[in-house]
């Protein structure tokens, strides 16, 4: 009975995370209404500790934003190397919404985690119906990709 109650009433709602989302780099310069517009297309997923969100080589079609918990981005070739440790407010898998390719790394949940998931087709829909919001969203994604590229270049140059 408790399980049924939790299933119906206990599920977290995206609107509960509105303030937290406003702080995320993904929604920088977004108004409350614009965030709401993106959230209409997004979905919430709960992952248990040690569950994989995706694996290296999988077809990428979605972006994930960490709402609660933490996620490790790692490579398994051949041993496990942690490339990044992501916590609340950060996002990963962003290449999947701008370019259809395969995942370049694996995402492993390191504690019980709540993720916001935005698919490529949802972003395409935002582009069609609300280009102004899509522009802001894609601009933020491009900025983060550029920052990560600069950081990687720096790491490679370091002796």
């Amino acid at each position: 009975m408790r399980l049924l109650y939790d299933y119906i009433f206990g599920k977290p709602r995206l609107s509960e995370f509105q303030d937290q989302l406003a702080q995320s780099p993904l929604f920088e310069n977004f108004s409350f209404r614009e965030i709401q517009h993106v959230l209409e297309h997004a979905a919430l997923r709960t992952f248990a500790k040690d569950e994989h969100v995706f694996f290296e080589g999988d077809v990428s079609s979605a972006l994930y934003l960490v709402l609660q918990g933490s996620v490790d981005i790692l490579s398994y070739k051949p041993k496990r190397i942690v490339l990044a440790h992501l916590t609340q407010g950060t996002f990963f898998g962003e290449i999947g919404v701008v370019y259809t390719t395969v995942r370049s790394a694996t995402a492993l949940v390191t504690s019980d985690t709540l993720l916001l998931c935005l698919f490529k087709h949802d972003v395409d829909e935002i582009i069609t119906h609300n280009p102004h919001v899509a522009c802001k969203l894609l601009s933020n994604i491009a900025r983060i990709i550029a920052q990560r590229l600069i950081a990687t270049n720096k790491q490679l140059k370091e002796p």
């Binding site: 969100v53 290296e56 698919f119």
Partner: protein, 353 residues
């Protein structure tokens, strides 16, 4: 046998089982599928209106008003003339068939062996066509149940429109999530665009046929324009099925000249469809080889009759999408297992070392 192929065969069997259950409960399946398609179309229209700045209540009101106007137009300008002309055609049926046989008598004189064949074909066609037309307007219990069930199911689905996606998504386990959502999206997109494109194509062709038939003075032009347009839904085969139908129509008043003229209209409609409508509306959606289109359509028609002709292509594309998705998913699972096994081995070697 590898584990991938075993799993794939299991997936295939599961799909076949679902297909079999749907075939055995075809009436319920048909109603559910039609309701779901109606829901997808109305939901898409609602979403477009909402994105244009209409509130939910205004969007619903606008759609209901639009639907009522469309129904009224269809009733006054299509259904009533078609109904009247169908009644007329049924009452004149035997006479028209006899006249048609007379028109063919010069052919029988030259080629006597065609006499029995055409007589048999005409007899078969007469019974099939007249029974089809009679059934079309007779109120059977199935039709009444469908007329009640489809709007009811569509309304139920529309009422939970905002939460339906979320509820369905929550049922998917995490490891199938991304692949299932992408596949489901691909399938619903395909259904929506296919239905919109086919409806637009059929509507344009009915208007084309009607104008052509009215110009050449074909009797019962409304009835034959609607029938010819609807037959076009069946890929390739539909246009061929139109020829005997038009021959019959011409035989009801006008003879060989009218038949030739109506075939000219049919060819022009075919050109209009292939040169303008199909490239504009359908080609991008149905990216299937013409040979497969013909085979799949015939198989669909053989299994479930007239409805099979119509749904064969979308059903084939959906089944293909699911199978390709399933295969890709199983391949990905195998790759995940290999990755994890490699890491485990590496850790074990390191511990032992």
């Amino acid at each position: 046998m590898t584990s991938l192929s075993t799993k794939f065969i299991f997936g295939l069997l599961l799909l076949a089982l679902i297909g079999l259950v749907m075939y055995y409960y075809s009436f319920i399946s048909f109603n559910i599928i039609v309701s779901f398609v109606c829901f997808l179309i109305i939901a898409e229209l609602l979403e477009r209106l909402e994105h244009k700045g209409f509130g939910q209540a205004h969007a619903y009101t606008l759609l209901i008003l639009g639907g009522l106007v469309l129904l009224l137009v269809l009733l006054l300008f299509v259904s009533i003339p078609v109904y009247q002309q169908t009644r007329q055609f049924i009452s004149q049926g035997p006479e028209i068939f006899a006249r048609f046989q007379n028109e063919l008598s010069p052919l029988h004189d030259r080629l006597p062996f065609t006499k029995t064949t055409t007589a048999l074909a005409l007899e078969h066609m007469q019974s099939a066509l007249l029974v089809f037309l009679r059934d079309l307007f007779s109120s059977s219990s199935d039709l009444i149940v469908s007329l009640l069930m489809i709007p009811l199911l569509t309304i139920v689905l529309l009422a939970s429109r905002k939460t339906l996606k979320e509820s369905l998504m929550s049922l998917i386990p995490n490891n199938y999530f991304e692949v299932s959502v992408t596949l489901a999206r691909e399938i619903t997109d395909h259904i929506q665009t296919y239905v919109f494109a086919k409806a637009a194509e059929t509507g344009a062709l009915i208007i084309f046929f009607l104008i052509g038939f009215l110009i050449i003075g074909l009797p019962n032009a409304f009835l034959f324009a609607v029938l010819s347009g609807l037959l076009n839904i069946i890929p390739f085969v539909g246009m061929l099925l139109n020829i005997p139908l038009l021959a019959l129509a011409a035989a009801s008043g006008g003879g060989v000249t009218l038949f030739i003229l109506s075939v000219v209209i049919l060819i022009l409609a075919h050109l209009f469809d292939n040169a303008i409508l199909t490239p504009l509306l359908v080609a991008k959606i149905v990216d299937v080889h013409p040979f497969i289109v013909v085979v799949v359509t015939l198989v669909g028609g053989e299994i479930i009759g007239f409805i099979g002709f119509i749904i064969a292509i979308p059903a084939y594309v959906i089944a293909k999408t699911i199978l390709v998705g399933l295969y890709e998913y199983l391949k990905a699972v195998q790759r995940h297992e290999t990755l994890l096994a490699h890491e485990k081995n590496y850790e074990q070697q390191n511990t032992q070392g």
